[in-house]
Amino acid sequence: MRIFIKYLSKFSGILFLLFLLGIWTFISSGPEWSSQYLFPSPKAIANALFNSREELLRSAGASLLKLIPAYFAAAVVGISVGIVSGSVPWVGNMLKPISRFAAPIPPNVYIPYAIAILPTFYLSSTFIIFIAAFWPIYLNTAAGAAEIPEKYKRNAAIIGIGRIEYLWRIALIASLPSIFSGLSVGMGLSFIMLTVAELFGENTGLGHFVQFYADYSDYPNMVAGILWTGIVVLAIMELFEFVKRKVLFWTKGN
């Protein structure tokens, strides 16, 4: 009995998923109060996933083509400005009022304006993703650089590391733990803004795929699009965690 419970707890995640799948199968099997039309069966969804595989892959590619450049630009600008602003008090003070004001603005309210002032939908989506990822990356980096333990600064000074060299050799590396929390929050937000932007006006990408089939009431394909988006985000987040563990190996035991 005990062994049984042990195994049950080990596989409880998968069992619960199977349980939910069972409920879904039941709902979609057509009890009177349900609608087979709005709740396509798991089999229909699997078919849609398979039949639309090329379009799904293309959509993921199109989404990543917006996400990656925007996210990397946000990371490069956010980290470099953040390191300087966290290490040099007058720069930090100069940027504080604007970041206090602008960081909390939800990035989706920029969408109409971005569409109005930027020449293409592609540019407006990347701009919105940039904004969404930039603030958490910048704020976390600046906080990390400002809180570097005094002992690292002192040692850097004693072994003759100059001010500029300090920024990249000490501040950047010592702030990596907070930089990664910023990168992680920024990643989550940029996914949200990516799909929001695609639901609005884009004609490519994962958000567009879902919106397109919803417009035609093709729910198997629409649900397949949602599931596929989940898989893509999960894969990227796992990759991110992998890189993070590799880079931050030295924070063990600190």
């Binding site: 690292y152 072994i159 003759g160 030295w250």
Partner: protein, 271 residues
């Protein structure tokens, strides 16, 4: 450089923080090659004095000189070992020490690495060159910090309770190591200032002990020591002369505390 000017010199040195005096009227001369232990209770300004000598803090009164020149900022000539392990955690031992060598000695690549290896061998870490600080015990990290402090070619070594967080066995072996490194070398005399609150440690290590009294920190005793070589630790501590020295330092301590208590009692009575 003439002999008179080498080493540390402080004249009427004082330091206040938020208007509260931490150190007051420190007049001090530490000759090149001296091994000075700075003893005092918590709050006597030991660490502040060490930071002033290192150039990490600037005095609010008086002057402080190193080899005749006023100390204005930190320098690799005066290396520091702190109590909390300060190797950069993202670098291996070898990388930590070679970085310090590259920055201070203008040595390049493989040569810097070779030098770093020599310094790490010197402190008994030849088997852990490629380990990261998180893979090492406290004692090993502190050996690494000592290797790095020596590797920058410093003429003065400032140690702020470096063995305070270690177990007794590690502590004893690191004390012997630091003695060997700092007092053993005749061709490269290193001026050492070792902050501790452990009287036995101070007597074991020092060629001179300076005792600071507290609130504000000031020198209450300055005791030159001249003990024979330490072959057997336990036997050495049983030596009558050593025990008397320990006792006299304890008395200096207690006298300061009692005097302060006396002031308090008098102050209380006059109200």
């Amino acid at each position: 450089m003439n002999q008179k000017q080498s080493g540390f010199e402080a004249t009427n040195l004082g330091f206040s923080y938020d208007g509260k005096p931490i150190l007051k009227d420190i007049n001090l001369k530490i000759n090149q090659g001296d091994f000075v232990c700075l003893l005092g209770e918590s709050g006597s300004g030991k660490t502040t004095l060490l930071n002033l000598l290192a150039g990490l803090t600037k005095p609010t009164e008086g002057h402080i000189y190193w080899n005749g020149k006023e100390i204005e900022k930190p320098s690799s000539e005066r290396s520091v070992v702190f109590q909390d392990y300060t190797l950069f955690p993202w670098l291996t031992l070898l990388q930590n020490v070679s970085l310090a060598i590259k920055k201070t000695q203008k040595a390049k690549g493989n040569y810097a690495k070779k030098l770093a290896e020599d310094y790490l061998n010197l402190v008994g870490l030849s088997g852990s060159l490629h380990k990261y600080p998180f893979e090492l015990s406290g004692g090993m990290r502190q050996r690494g910090a000592i290797a790095r402090a020596l590797s920058v070619g410093a003429d003065a070594l400032l140690l702020d309770e470096p063995f305070g967080a270690l177990d007794p066995v590690n502590r004893a072996s690191l004390q012997d190591l630091i003695l060997e490194l700092c007092r053993g070398s005749k061709d490269r005399p290193i001026t050492t200032l070792f902050v501790t609150h452990d009287i036995r440690e101070a007597v074991y290590l020092a060629s001179r002990i300076i005792v600071l009294g507290s609130t504000p920190g000031r020198i209450i005793a300055d005791i030159p020591l001249n003990f024979s070589a330490k072959k057997n630790r336990d036997e050495w501590f049983r030596n009558k002369q050593v025990q008397e020295t320990i006792k006299s330092i304890e008395e200096a301590y207690h006298k300061d505390v009692l005097e302060k208590l006396g002031h308090l009692v008098q102050g209380g009575a006059s109200i």
